[in-house]
Symmetry: C2
Subunit: 330 residues, 2 copies
């Protein structure tokens, strides 16, 4: 979470000129995003009205070819009333621009600033609201015309596991290597087909939800959005919201509220309901593998904080335990 590229006020003003937003009043680099630099920008028109935006410079990991999918999705969802930031188009109608910086060519985009705070310790009422917002998003995106494959799906978990190697995983923790050896082939063999697909957020952690009280004011950071199984998105959100940070303590109250909230907007099919325990194991495997890879490939004192892969290994074991099969019961 850092600002990777320094931008002086003059650079910033030049970057913003094609958006005709008025004069730059304030620009603060904000500590959000691990793959991009972000600034909270305020502008003022001569008449005095001010507006706020987030300027994002894409630094790593993102394919510029994917930006129309991500940014167009924001506009599609915002037009349907979902609490997502609209993208701001430049005077030529472009969703994003490519600029030269001291660090090379970078794509940048401007989106609306939304109020709200990210929760550290949600209540059931807040988890219910998030479940409902996710189901609403799934419905609103149903007619989004573009598609994007899930770059963090099963094949990628397998590739990451292979890149880490059994020894690499064991160097993080022997239990992690054992978990992968036991569960990854089984997930691959049992992964469901035929469930309803659509546009999913795929990364709806508390960090990516802005709230005021029990109202969701912003769903943000759509840079893993893709087309995949809708119920898998619910499983990802469940894994992200219903445990403490270490992955040890399951919170049945948050789980029940999140699932109720989702079901209040979109009814899960019998097949989706039945698949949820397996989908949740997949969600846990996805984050365990990306975190394990980052753990082994990020210097311990780099700008980006390493996140513990074991927190998601524990969640996987929780979801795989038949004693917990009631968690997703209708």
């Amino acid at each position: 979470m850092a600002v990777y590229t320094h931008l002086g006020a003059e650079d910033m003003a030049a970057l913003l000129a094609p958006y005709h937003l008025g004069d730059l009043v304030s620009a603060k680099g904000i500590a959000e995003g691990v793959s991009n630099s972000n600034w909270l920008i305020e502008t003022a028109r001569p008449a005095g009205e001010t507006a706020r935006f987030i300027l994002t410079m894409y630094e790593f990991r993102i394919e510029i070819a994917d930006l129309p999918y991500f940014l167009g999705l924001l506009d599609h969802l915002a037009a349907k009333g979902c609490p997502v930031p609209r993208s701001i188009h430049d005077d030529a109608g472009n969703l994003y621009r490519v600029v030269d910086t001291a660090r090379g060519e970078r794509a940048l985009a401007l989106i609306e600033f939304l109020p709200g705070v990210s929760l550290g310790d949600p209540t059931p009422g807040q988890a219910r609201a998030v479940g409902a917002a996710l189901a609403t998003l799934h419905g609103a995106a149903a007619d989004y015309p573009a598609t994007r494959a899930n770059g963090m799906g099963l094949a990628e978990w397998q590739r990451l596991a292979q890149e880490c190697g059994a020894d690499g995983l064991a160097s993080i923790a022997p239990a992690l290597a054992e978990m992968v050896a036991e569960h990854l082939p089984r997930l691959a063999a049992q992964w469901p087909t035929g469930l309803q697909t659509g546009v999913i957020h795929a990364d709806l952690f508390p960090d990516n939800v802005l709230m005021q009280g029990e109202t969701v004011t912003g769903l943000i950071d759509f840079y893993f959005a893709c087309n995949d199984i809708l119920a898998y998105d619910l499983a990802v959100t469940h894994a992200a919201w219903c445990f403490d940070a270490s992955g040890e303590a399951f919170r049945p109250d948050l789980s029940a509220a999140l699932l109720q909230g989702y079901a209040s907007v979109r009814t899960l099919s019998t097949a989706e309901q039945a698949a949820l325990p397996l989908l949740a194991q997949g969600a846990a495997m996805r984050f365990a593998m990306s975190r394990a890879y980052d753990w082994l490939n990020t210097p311990a004192d780099a700008l980006v904080t390493r996140k513990d892969p074991l927190a998601f290994a524990r969640r996987l074991l929780f979801y795989a335990d038949p004693a917990n099969s009631g968690v997703f019961a209708a």
Copy 2:
């Protein structure tokens, strides 16, 4: 430049409760400050009016005993109309509070948010405004009753040079070790006495000045403020504003404008005028030494970006060169 301590929305709301600012609407960690974590906070009262603040958590290097000097100075200057952020007092009137965090006890303070942007490439008109703002600050602080010794004065440059050692300095660059060996004893022998002292900012780099056009909207980051020679503060500001980032290219237009701006508000005495070349060498030595120490004691890939000590070694040689003695001529 980072946020060192994670605060969830609930922690943040609890921290803000004793300030009675209304409900927390937004909180963004901002990438400013190397010794503290900062958040840009927005609050709303039931009637709907919103306000913005900077919440600062002091992480390193700062003595809590110094906070009343720094924060009280902001209030003193703001009351006199200087563009500095007022400190916000809690319901018991405290300027700061000490709280428990996951990383231990931390002091925190809340100050006003000010608009404006930090310049990367100032114009002479902007440098003139900064010179005038500095002189105005010196005047407004003349009756500030508290005092604080300069912890980054000559004795500290000598201590840092000793800590680095000739070998350490030479490991950064042989020219740096030579510069220190030649000029530090001379500065110590010639350092002026008897010049007017008062409250100085002592670190007025472009990062610490917020501007809109040619108007200074904020002088910020007073955490090196102290009582010392007033003209030394002008010399620090000169060294910080009148060269390119590498310290190679002197900008006579910015230099003339900055000095004119200062003189338009406060007349330098003949002795101050004569001392400026030496004071400027001291200013350059101060930043060369603190940067050299940080260079040798900061891991290359730590959160904090290392700044090049040579940029200020070059400025020192510029100021020490008799060919440049006209820079500070009245």
